[in-house]
């Protein structure tokens, strides 16, 4: 189990389309991946779950992954959340 807190600093923010992309990124991995804010914890492979997370800009999100490819999953999601551009 690997956990990492990330501040959302993506230049284009997190709009619906970006969430869909993020879900696709997470779905590539076999690990179970969860995203947490202060009040919610959702499956990162679920588009509806990610939409209902409603994170604010600059909010901290905790990514947690469990499985063989957890390290790669967490680092790719971290890069995604903090990317300067698409």
């Amino acid at each position: 189990m690997l956990k990492k807190s990330v501040r959302i600093s993506r230049a284009d923010g997190l709009e619906a389309r970006t969430f869909a992309k993020l879900v696709q990124v997470a779905s590539k991995y076999d690990s179970r991946i969860y995203m947490e804010t202060e009040t919610k914890r959702v499956n990162a492979k679920s588009i509806m779950g990610m939409m209902s997370l409603e994170p604010a800009r600059d909010e901290m999100i905790t990514i947690s992954a469990e499985g063989a490819d957890e390290a790669a999953a967490v680092s790719e999601i971290e890069v995604f959340l903090t990317a300067a551009k698409n």
């Binding site: 499956n43 679920s46 509806m48 939409m51």
Partner: protein, 313 residues
């Protein structure tokens, strides 16, 4: 942890603010319990739950009326020095000027309502209990099947949403797809709702998002439902033993409450919606006092003990 802001309570219970200089949206209520401060007004402050809402009715108001001015100042100052979120007067009984003056000094909101004390307390406690209930989000689909709240869980892509869609087509109702917010409102009640943002939507892989309410009508959705039964979908595992009789119930725990849970192995050709429907109907029948597995068990046992009894039937 859940928090209710005082302005939300004011909107819900239609309360009037007698201390308008205090902003109610900055006051947080963290617990659903309330207190009637009658005994504190007499000067007894041992065991005082000073972080609760304080509700004053006829008794408190009449006693306050009978107090000497100096005594009022002493008692009110002591009472309002606690971190009380708000003092609420019922039956439109207005507190005296001294009370309001000290409340303004200590920054305690004073509210008033027309409602009678007992019914106001009952509704306030009920509402606060729901709003402040322990809360989690789970990955699953919640459907109302014959009045039984059925939570379908399982890995992404196993077919939860497809099962829900077929259940809806068969006349059952969707509460939430993919994300279910569960609140524990009492020791035996868990209530599930959809997050406001994804309410009435289902995601079908390959099709995208569909709006169940506008496609299938208002009778195909429901806002909240208790969680009575859990069905856990998983890939069929040859080496695993699945329940064949259903005599002993298995349970899944959410927020400390146990819910009956069936593990359902998936295999091509199994019609999930019909199995879910049968599970819900069977659960209902168990609640009504009949258990098919037990009857089968008894028949087999009876035959074993007295083989001729059954043969004669």
């Amino acid at each position: 942890m859940s928090v209710v802001r005082l302005n939300e309570l004011m909107d819900k219970m239609r309360l009037t603010n007698l201390t308008p200089e205090i902003d109610p949206s900055r006051i947080k209520i963290r617990q659903p319990d309330i207190n009637r401060p009658a005994i504190q007004l007499t000067g007894y402050f041992e065991h005082f739950a000073g972080e609760r809402l304080q509700i004053c009715g006829l008794v408190e108001h009449a006693y306050m009326d009978s107090m000497e001015e100096a005594r009022k100042r002493e008692i009110y100052s002591h009472l309002l020095s606690f971190p009380i979120p708000a003092v609420i007067f019922c039956r439109n009984l207005e507190p005296d000027q001294t009370f309001l003056e000290i409340a303004r000094e200590t920054g305690t909101a004073v509210l008033i309502t027309r409602q009678a004390t007992s019914s106001f307390m009952a509704e306030a406690i009920r509402w606060l209990n729901v709003r402040l209930a322990p809360f989690i989000t789970v990955h699953g689909v919640l459907v109302d099947v014959y009045g039984i709240g059925l939570l379908i869980t399982g890995e992404s892509g196993i077919g939860k949403s497809e099962a829900a869609l077929e259940l809806i087509k068969r006349g059952h109702r969707l509460i939430s797809d993919d994300v279910v917010e569960i609140r524990r409102v009492s020791e035996d009640t868990l209530i599930g709702t959809a997050p406001e943002i994804t309410k009435h939507f289902i995601e079908l892989r390959g099709i995208g998002i569909i709006n169940v309410k506008s496609l299938f009508g208002v009778s195909s959705v429901r806002d909240t439902q208790n969680i009575d039964l859990v069905i856990e979908l998983e890939d069929w595992d040859k080496d695993k033993e699945y329940d064949r009789l259903g005599v002993a119930d298995n349970y899944k725990e959410y927020l400390g409450n146990r819910v009956v849970c069936h593990k359902l192995p998936i295999r091509p050709g199994r019609n999930l919606a019909i199995i879910c429907e049968a599970a819900a109907a069977n659960h209902r029948q168990k609640l009504m006092g009949y258990n098919a597995a037990e009857e089968l068990y008894e028949r087999v046992n009876a035959k074993w003990k007295n083989p001729q009894d059954l043969d004669e039937d």
